[in-house]
């Protein structure tokens, strides 16, 4: 536990001492702010149109479904772009600079330092999405969205990010080049995002497997405000499997080189 903590603190410091953390946080904040604004103005326009409806009582407008849900999906897309920047250095950099040799010859197990690294990436990601709550807080001040679906959306974002982080960690453990790590992670994230687009043109069995793999459909429930245990199981098993594969990949370094 102490070892995990040592690694975790070092990694976190290294994010925040270097400009990495600030660049990532700023970019995310700018983009999510921009998306918030566009979604908000679309929503306002829509509600004005609805009020001017000449055919009697307008259908009810729902802030959570019509505004928060697309906002969460947008933030998830930004996460797809930002998480490779968080994970690319985690292991690849250690390989490049030779500090991997220090970790591997110190009396700590690979699992301990992998977990430490994963957690530090997760905390950076969590602080990133926490910042995006600022505009939403304003929405709470001036509007009346429901609280719990917003929390559910954030839980969904945490799970989604956690899964991407574990996948990015594997990729980072396979190369010593950070650019390659980032590019390949980004490719995999995007693939998982759009993989269900081909589901309809496949056989039923194949299609449902592909659909299950699609990370968006699991996330969308959270964005709608539904916390479904099957989705939680999906994300948790994704994360655990990713960390396990990273462990395997690190363990095999001893045998491969």
């Amino acid at each position: 536990m102490k070892n995990i903590y040592s690694i975790f603190i070092r990694e976190l410091k290294s994010y925040f001492i270097s400009p990495i953390a600030y660049v990532i946080l700023t970019v995310f904040l700018l983009l999510s702010g921009y998306f918030f604004y566009t979604v908000l103005s679309w929503f306002l326009q829509y509600s004005i149109q609805m009020q001017a409806n000449p055919y009697g009582q307008p259908p009810p407008v729902n802030v959570n479904l019509m505004m928060m849900r697309p906002l969460f999906l947008n933030m998830a897309i930004i996460a797809v772009f930002m998480i490779p920047m968080i994970t690319m250095r985690l292991i690849a950099e250690e390989k490049k600079t030779g500090t991997l040799e220090l970790l591997m010859t110190s009396p700590i197990t690979p699992m301990q330092w992998i977990l430490g690294k994963y957690l530090s990436g997760f905390i950076l990601y969590a602080s990133m999405i926490t910042l995006s709550f600022i505009p939403i807080f304003l929405l709470f001040l001036f509007g009346n969205p429901e609280f719990w679906p917003v929390i559910s959306g954030y839980i969904g974002l945490l799970f989604l990010g956690g899964a991407f982080l574990s996948l990015g960690l594997i990729v980072s453990s396979l190369t010593e080049n950070q650019i390659i790590a980032a590019t390949v992670s980004f490719f995999l994230f995007l693939l998982l995002w759009v993989i269900d687009w081909i589901a309809d043109s496949l056989s039923y069995t194949m299609g449902s497997v592909i659909k299950y793999l699609s990370i968006v459909s699991h996330f969308d429930d959270f964005a709608k405000g539904i916390i479904d245990t099957s989705n939680i199981v999906f994300f948790l098993s994704f994360i655990i499997f990713g960390i396990f594969l990273t462990y395997r990949s690190i363990d095999s370094i001893r045998w491969r080189i």
């Binding site: 600079t97 010859t105 009396p107």
Partner: protein
Amino acid sequence: MISVENLTKYYGIKKAVDNITFSVKKGEILGFLGPNAAGKTTTMRIITCYLSASSGTVRVAGYDIFENPIEVKKRIGYMPENPPLYTDMTVSSYLKFVGGIKGLSGKKLNERVNEVMKVAAVEDVKNRVTGKLSKGYRQRVGLAQAIIHNPEILILDEPTAGLDPKQIIETRELIKSLAGQHTIVVSTHILPEVSMTCDRVLIINEGKIVAEDTIEDLTKKIRGSETILMEINGPKNEIKEKLEKIEGVAEVKVQDTKDGGLHKYHIESKPSFNIRKELAKTVVNSDWGLEEMRTISLSLEDIFLKLTTKEEEVQN
């Protein structure tokens, strides 16, 4: 303290370490000598559990490196050839981090960090970022990192590589001062270093151990024949001819000097012949001017070259 038995390591089909066996006693400084790519680093990496072996066993302080890697790692301080520094950390925070993952904590950790900074003489840069340090300081921080948990065994991979002469001397002094409390394995391809710091030397070439002994014994063993240098004033060809006729002389090489009549003669004896008396007699009787006469002792460098070039000579 360390026992290595029949250790073999393949990289793909290339044999990097070929069936080597050796042991290091407690408190000893073992020099690991060999040309580049001889298998020194590979062997060290296997002992420190960074790499696995293809076959063979290694035991460190009684623990097998495959069965009890954590116990082994606790007892070893390892300094790779390139010090494993996190370039964004300051020296003191880096050492604190390394101490932490090596099992120190709290007050003990702070004490040790201060101690090793003193020992490795890096106190004056303790608040500088390691990435901005000069090569000499980096190397010393690397050393400080290796000794922070006060390990029984120190494994240093080319600790003086890339340092200036003054730093080399300081580093050697530092290694010597660590002897006694630690068992040390130092690798190097610089020869004088071994004779200056080590008790015992192990010469490795192309993955095989070609010699293992104390430095004095090694010199004696190799020196079956001796080479004598003479500076003689006189006719070159005649002198050469006469000297070659003396019993026990294997070869005479002539070297011109700036002074026209004066030549240097390198005379190599056949094994176990003492030719000095005859040489002197011949020169004096022929009435040549003998300016200088001395034996050339084999330096470690010659031994090293002799041992590591043997194989090629056989092939030729």
